[in-house]
C-alpha cells in the first residue's frame, strides 16, 4: 500500500486530511438494551411467538436478500429455497452430530446454504437481469423438490416435516418463547453487525459498484464474477440461518412447503418496502409486512365485528398491500427507511419549519 503513495505527485502530499470521526450510535445501543433487557419482561407469549420472533427472522432474511439485491444488484426470487437449505442442513447437523452445540450447528447450516447459493450464483457470470432471476426460480423449485423428495433430509418422518430438536445453549433450555426470542435476537444482532461491517468495507463498495454499473466495475479492476458469486454465497448464508431460525425458533416444525415461492416474494417485498441498499430498511420493511396484516385483521375484527365476511377483509388486505407496493415504488423508491430519514430531518429543524 505504502509504495503506492510514494508515486503521488506533489499536490497529493500537501493535500489536507479530513477524516470523519466515528460517532457512537447511541440510538442503536438504547434499542438493543430495550430489546435484550426490556422486551422479555414486558412482552407476553402472543407478542413473542406471533410477532417479534417472526419479525426478527424476516428482518434477517431481508438483510440476506438485500445484500444480494440491494447491494450487489442481483435480483433473486429464490430466497426461500436457500432458507430451506439452512433449515434442513441445521436439522441434519443437530440430529446426526448431537455433540455440536446449537450455535455451531447454525453456523454450519448457514455454511451449507452459502455453498448452495454459491453454486446457483455461478450462472451470474453470463446471465443477467430477468434471465438471472429465472435461475433463482430454478433454485427455488429444485430445492423445494429435493427436500420433499429425499426422506433422508427429514429423517423419514411420515409427514415430511422436521421438528426442532431440544433447543439448548450451554445446558440451558431455551425452547420457551423468551429463550427462542433471545436466541433469535442475539443471532440477528450479531449478523446485522457483520452486515454493517461488510457493506461499509471494500467488499460492500465493490458490490455497489457492480450494482450501479458492472462493466465499469470490471474496468477499474473489480473481479465482477467473483464478487457476484460471493454475494450469492453471503446472501445465502444469511438466508440459511434465517431459515433455520424460521423452522426452529419460530415455527417449531417445518417442511419444504414452509419455504415456498410465496416466502421468497414476501422477502422481496420486505426489501422493496423497507429500502434496497439499506441495513436498517430490512427491519422497517419486516415490521411493516408482519404488522400490517395483523393490524388489518384485528381492526377488521374490532371495528366491523362479525358483520363483514373475514374473507372480504382478507381480499381487501391483499388489495391494500398491492397498492402500497406500487405507491412505494412510485413515491419513494428508496423505501420506508428513506421516508423515515426524511421525517427525522424535518423534525430536527422542527421549530423553524413547522
Amino acid at each position: 500500500m505504502s509504495n503506492l503513495s510514494h508515486q503521488l505527485p506533489a499536490p497529493f502530499e500537501h493535500a489536507p486530511l479530513a477524516l470523519v470521526p466515528r460517532a457512537i450510535p447511541w440510538g442503536a445501543a438504547a434499542l438493543l438494551i430495550v430489546a435484550f433487557a426490556g422486551v422479555p419482561w414486558l412482552a407476553g407469549d402472543y407478542w413473542l411467538n406471533a410477532i417479534l420472533i417472526p419479525f426478527l427472522v424476516l428482518s434477517l432474511a431481508g438483510l440476506g436478500l438485500n445484500l444480494l439485491t440491494g447491494y450487489a444488484g442481483q435480483t433473486s426470487v429464490g430466497s426461500a429455497g436457500f432458507m430451506a437449505v439452512g433449515a434442513f442442513a441445521t436439522y441434519a447437523f443437530l440430529l446426526r452430530v448431537p455433540v455440536l452445540p446449537l450455535p455451531v450447528a447454525l453456523l454450519a447450516g448457514g455454511a451449507v446454504a452459502a455453498a448452495v447459493g454459491f453454486v446457483f450464483g455461478i450462472p451470474s457470470n453470463r446471465i443477467k437481469g430477468f434471465y438471472l432471476m429465472a435461475t433463482t426460480l430454478a433454485a427455488q423449485f429444485f430445492l423445494e423438490w429435493v427436500f420433499t423428495k429425499f426422506p433422508w433430509f427429514y429423517n423419514h418422518a411420515s409427514s415430511g416435516t422436521i421438528a426442532a430438536p431440544r433447543l439448548a445453549l450451554f445446558g440451558h433450555d431455551i425452547s420457551g418463547p423468551v429463550g427462542r426470542y433471545l436466541l433469535t435476537l442475539s443471532v440477528v444482532t450479531l449478523l446485522t453487525w457483520v452486515a454493517r461491517n461488510l457493506v461499509g468495507s471494500r467488499l460492500g463498495r465493490n458490490w455497489m459498484a457492480i450494482r450501479d454499473m458492472d462493466t465499469a466495475a470490471a474496468v477499474i479492476g473489480i473481479d465482477v464474477d467473483h464478487h457476484k458469486r460471493l454475494a450469492f454465497a453471503v446472501s445465502s448464508f444469511y438466508l440459511g440461518i434465517a431459515g433455520a431460525l424460521w423452522a426452529f425458533a419460530y415455527l417449531g416444525t417445518a417442511s419444504a412447503s414452509s419455504f415456498d415461492i410465496n416466502r421468497s416474494f414476501q422477502i422481496l417485498f420486505i426489501i422493496i418496502i423497507g429500502g434496497m441498499g439499506s441495513v436498517a430498511g430490512n427491519f422497517i420493511g419486516a415490521a411493516f409486512i408482519s404488522l400490517l396484516p395483523i393490524f388489518l385483521s384485528q381492526a377488521g375484527q374490532a371495528l366491523l365485528g362479525g358483520n363483514v365476511d373475514p374473507g372480504q377483509i382478507q381480499n381487501l388486505q391483499k388489495i391494500i398491500f398491492g397498492a402500497l407496493i406500487i405507491t412505494f415504488l412510485v413515491k419513494e423508491p428508496e423505501g420506508l427507511v428513506r421516508l423515515l430519514a426524511g421525517l427525522r430531518e424535518r423534525l430536527a429543524v422542527w421549530p423553524l419549519r413547522f
Binding site: T75, P123, R126, I127, K128, G129, F130, Y131, A134, T135, L137, A138, F141, F142, E144, W145, K149, F150, T215, A216, I261, F265, L268, F269, I272, G311, Q312, N315, L316, Q317, K318, I319, F321, G322, A323, L324, I325, I326, L329, V330, P333
Partner: protein
C-alpha cells in the same frame, strides 16, 4: 417407439397451452419493457369475469364480449395508475410494480367474484383421438388451433394496421417513435388490452381444463421458462419455447423421472431454460443488446 411418439406429440400439444400464456407476456414486454408478473392474475381475472357473467345469465358469446371490454378497462386503469407514474424507471422496479399489481387484481377478482371453483364447459369433447396408434387429445388439438389462430390475428394486427406499425416502432426505438409523434400512452393501453384479451383466451382454455379458480394465476410460473427459452421479445419464440418446454417436460417425466423418483416437472423446465441461457444468454430468439460504453 409409439409410446415415445405419443409422449412427444402430446407434449408438443401441451406446450401450446404454455405458449398461449407466454404470448401475453411477450406483447407487453415488447411494447412497454415490462416483465408483467401480473399476467397470471389477469388470466384469472379475465376467466373469472367471463364465467361470472355467464352464471349471471349472459350467453357465452356475450359474456366473452363483455369480458373483452372489462379487460380493456383494466388495461386503461393499469396504464394510468401504474405505467404512467413509473415511466422511465428501471425494469426491475416495473417488475416489482407488477408483483403489487398481481396482488390487487387477485384481491379484486376474488373479492368481487368469489373464491369458489367454477366449472367451465367450452363444449369440446375431451376424448382421445387416434392417429394410427398414436393417441392425441382433441382438447389439446383445439387449444393448438386456437393458439395458431390467435398468432395469425396478432400478426395481422401488427403488420397490417396503423396501431401495429406504431407498436413495432415503439418496440424498435422508443425515443424515435416518440419523436415522430406516436402517443406512447395510447400504445401501452392498447397493448395491455390486447394482452388482457390473450389472457382471456388462455384463461378460458386453462379454466376449461382445471376449473376457473385461484390457481389459474399459477400458470404464470409455467410460462416463465417458455419465455426464457424463446426470448422475451419474440412471439415466434414464445410458440417455439412452449413446444420445447412441453415436449421436454413430458419426455423427461416419463424417461428421466423414474430415475430420480418423478415429480420433476416443477423445476425441469427451469433447468432446461438455464441450459439454453448458458448457451444463448438472451434466449433463442431474443437479441442481446450491445453494451454501449
Amino acid at each position: 417407439m409409439n409410446f415415445f411418439l405419443e409422449t412427444l406429440f402430446g407434449g408438443l400439444l401441451a406446450g401450446t397451452m404454455y405458449s398461449l400464456v407466454a404470448i401475453g407476456f411477450v406483447l407487453i414486454y415488447k411494447a412497454s419493457g415490462v416483465f408483467n408478473f401480473a399476467q397470471g392474475a389477469m388470466l384469472l381475472f379475465a376467466a373469472l369475469t367471463c364465467v361470472s357473467l355467464q352464471e349471471a345469465g349472459l350467453p357465452f358469446a356475450a359474456a366473452v364480449a363483455a369480458s373483452v371490454v372489462v379487460m380493456g378497462l383494466l388495461a386503461l386503469a393499469i396504464e394510468r395508475a401504474v405505467l404512467r407514474p413509473l415511466v422511465a424507471r428501471s425494469q426491475i422496479t416495473l417488475f416489482m410494480a407488477t408483483l403489487g399489481l398481481s396482488f390487487i387484481i387477485e384481491g379484486l377478482a376474488q373479492g368481487l367474484m368469489g373464491a369458489e371453483v367454477r366449472a367451465l364447459d367450452l363444449g369440446i369433447d375431451d376424448v382421445p383421438v387416434f392417429v394410427g396408434d398414436v393417441m392425441l387429445s382433441q382438447f389439446d388439438l383445439f387449444a393448438a388451433a386456437t393458439a395458431a389462430v390467435l398468432v395469425l390475428v396478432l400478426a395481422l394486427l401488427f403488420n397490417k394496421t396503423r396501431v401495429g406499425v406504431s407498436l413495432r416502432a415503439v418496440a424498435d426505438d422508443t425515443r424515435a417513435a416518440l419523436s415522430i409523434g406516436i402517443n406512447l400512452n395510447r400504445i401501452w393501453q392498447i397493448v395491455w388490452a390486447v394482452a388482457g384479451v390473450v389472457g382471456l383466451v388462455a384463461g378460458l382454455l386453462w379454466g376449461a381444463r382445471q376449473g376457473v379458480q385461484f390457481s389459474l394465476s399459477l400458470v404464470v410460473l409455467k410460462a416463465l421458462p417458455v419465455l426464457i427459452i424463446g426470448g422475451f421479445t419474440s412471439i415466434g419464440g414464445a410458440i417455439v419455447g412452449g413446444l420445447i418446454v412441453g415436449a421436454a417436460e413430458n419426455l423427461a417425466e416419463v424417461y428421466v423421472g423414474p430415475l430420480v423418483g418423478g415429480g420433476i416437472t416443477s423445476w425441469f423446465a427451469y433447468f432446461l431454460a438455464l441450459a439454453f441461457l448458458y448457451v444463448r444468454p438472451a434466449g433463442l430468439f431474443g437479441e442481446r443488446a450491445i453494451e454501449r460504453v
